[in-house]
């Protein structure tokens, strides 16, 4: 186990370095120049030049790259092109916000999908299974922004039960988590269903029944525990989607998360903030994948990484 963690951490550093360099190259490859964006469409050219000089955009690329990389090694991610605020100050608080939103959404999605998926597999082919499949398919085809806006108007404006924007109280969590979670729950339900159908077909299920175990125990103890193995890997993949999906949810619910910051920084060509946001986004994801692998070894006694 420790060897796995160590190798993954080493990889994180390496991947981080490669990612930052790749982003730097990519940024300078795509059109769009921060100085012109700041000056506005109708600004005269010499104004754009003056901004470029003032902010050091005109330095040769390799100089910018080397100085940035040196500072990153010392933990300084530079300052935002525009607000001149240190990138860490901008990015770090938002990591928590996105982690909270994506985390709760994942928890909600996992619990709902495990329950619905198991029941649907238990009554395989029956009406319950049909209903659950229909529900999950509807969930998969409804874009996050549709559920979001409908949720806002139904529960926020008309019924006035739930607050809409920001994250100042726990009630603020409900709508965004349900919106993001519902989509993921639908995806996961279909996955859990097929894994459970597979597990319920195994021989040890007959043994369990022959031992006199009630159906509840057969499904939720014996079958589910086995189905967990493929499910955990699929949930790991799901995290990627949830983090991706959080971008739209954060925009709709005015949630100050990392996803929105990443998109804004790309659109306004704020390179340091963009690199910082994507870098930490990647680190979160790699750590979550590490967690999934560790969970896997705990779940499956046959696999061990030592």
């Amino acid at each position: 186990m420790p060897r796995l963690i160590l190798s993954r951490l080493v990889f994180m550093v390496l991947a981080g370095f490669l990612l930052l360099s790749f982003l730097f190259a990519l940024f300078h490859m795509i059109p769009g120049d921060p100085a012109r964006l700041m000056a506005g469409d109708n600004a005269p050219e010499e104004l754009v030049q003056s901004i470029r000089r003032a902010y050091g955009f005109d330095q040769p690329l390799h100089v910018q790259y080397l100085s940035y990389m040196q500072r990153v090694l010392m933990g300084d991610f530079g300052v935002s092109n525009y607000t001149r605020q240190p990138v860490l100050e901008v990015v770090l608080p938002r990591i928590g916000n996105t982690a909270a939103l994506a985390g709760c959404a994942m928890l909600f999605a996992m619990t709902v999908s495990l329950i619905l998926g198991s029941f649907s597999a238990m009554f395989w082919g029956g009406p319950v299974d049909k209903g659950v499949t229909a529900f999950s398919l509807v969930g998969i085809c409804t874009p996050v922004f549709v559920t979001g806006i409908i949720g806002i108007y139904l529960f926020g404006v008309y019924l006035r039960w739930l607050p809409i924007g920001g994250m100042s109280s726990w009630q603020h969590f409900i709508l965004p988590v349900l919106t993001l979670g519902a989509y993921q729950a639908a995806m996961f339900t279909r996955m859990v269903r097929s894994c459970m159908v597979d597990a319920l077909g195994r021989d040890f299920i007959t043994t369990a029944r022959a031992k006199g175990a009630p159906e509840r125990r057969v499904v939720f103890h014996h079958a589910l525990r086995n189905a967990l193995l493929p499910i955990i890997t699929l949930f790991g993949l799901g995290v990627g989607h949830t983090l991706g999906g959080s971008v739209v949810t954060e925009t709709i619910f005015n949630w100050p998360g990392l996803g929105r910051l990443m998109v804004d920084s790309i659109l306004t060509r704020d390179l340091p903030v963009m690199q910082g946001a994507i870098f930490f986004f990647a680190m979160i994801f790699i750590l979550v994948n590490l967690l999934v692998d560790i969970l896997y070894t705990w779940a499956d006694p046959r696999v061990s990484y030592d």
Partner: protein, 293 residues
């Protein structure tokens, strides 16, 4: 193949939705001729009309008939998603198989690259591709295909890994078979079912990603209609003109429902293990009739 169709058509649900899926693809091919109105003809006087006999799904902001735009969009979206899936499968599966089979350093590197690709913001990817391939359908297909590539690689790798341990594969190796033949002969047939299931699951993801792309204006260029784009435009009128979202949503739901149910049915007919359990539906009817009181 004849046996395959006989098995497949045995299950009523699969049959019905198979026909619907076929219908959608036929609509996609014949869109130009069967669209009731002209999807491009703007008529500002009767913009934003609710559904009526003349316009079943109402008219959009510029008075264009939403139904004919949905029909034409079927062609664009069907082409877009199918090509994107093919792109992901053709590129992803071989890589996954090879990496799964050989393992070692190549496996670790490819897996970590897929890790990074999974979280790489789709938007950034789209901007880069649009710059290289131009803001055309080609760019969108590549962007969508790339976004699904990691998952295809992971699945084919997973199946290859589990099959590598199977006895018959070891027997083939013992018999001196080289790995390309083994992958094609033994591994590929077993990969087809999970890939089909994954492909049908990714259909809706593609359409929604296309709508995210069009949110930034990077998707299919107007005036060609595309479901994702129409969903996005209807978003701004969700409260004032809710009917605008019905057209594309119904079309998307039918397309995804039929694709998934056909995917399920395919999985059952092709995958030996779950085949025996499939006839449960008819079982309920038959056994209830003759079973004990």
């Amino acid at each position: 193949m004849r046996k395959f169709f006989r098995d497949f058509s045995r299950d009523p649900v699969a049959l019905v939705f198979g026909l619907i899926l076929l219908g959608i693809y036929i609509v996609a091919i014949t869109a130009q001729w069967i669209a009731p109105g002209d999807p491009f003809e703007t008529n500002l006087r009767n913009g934003m009309q609710p559904p009526s006999w003349e316009h079943w799904f109402g008219t959009d902001q510029f008075g264009r008939d939403v139904l004919s735009r949905v029909i034409l969009a079927t062609q664009v979206t069907a082409r877009l998603t199918t090509l994107a899936i093919l792109f992901a499968v053709v590129l992803g599966v071989p890589i996954g198989m090879m990496v799964g089979y050989h393992g070692g350093l190549a496996d670790a590197i490819v897996m970590r690259i897929t890790d990074i690709m999974l979280i790489f913001p789709m938007i950034m990817l789209a901007i880069v591709i649009v710059v290289i391939a131009g803001p055309s359908e080609r760019g969108v297909i590549i962007a969508l295909g790339l976004s699904q590539l990691p998952e295809m690689i992971r699945i084919s790798r997973g199946v290859t890994l589990s099959l590598k341990e199977e006895l018959y594969v070891e027997a083939a190796v013992a018999a001196g078979a080289r790995w390309p033949w083994i992958l094609r002969r033994h591994v590929w047939p077993n990969i087809s079912t999970p890939i089909i299931v994954q492909a049908t699951l990714t259909l809706p993801v593609f359409v929604l990603n296309a709508s995210a792309l069009s949110y930034l204006g990077l998707g299919v260029q107007p005036p060609t209609p595309e479901w994702g784009q129409m969903l996005n435009e209807a978003k701004d009128f969700l409260i004032n003109a809710p009917y605008l979202i019905i057209g594309p949503s119904v079309a998307l739901f039918l397309f995804v429902l039929s694709a998934n149910l056909v995917g399920d049915a395919l999985q059952e007919t092709l995958n030996p293990r779950t085949k025996s359990r499939r006839i449960t539906r008819r079982f309920y009817r038959v056994s209830r009739k003759s079973a004990l009181s």
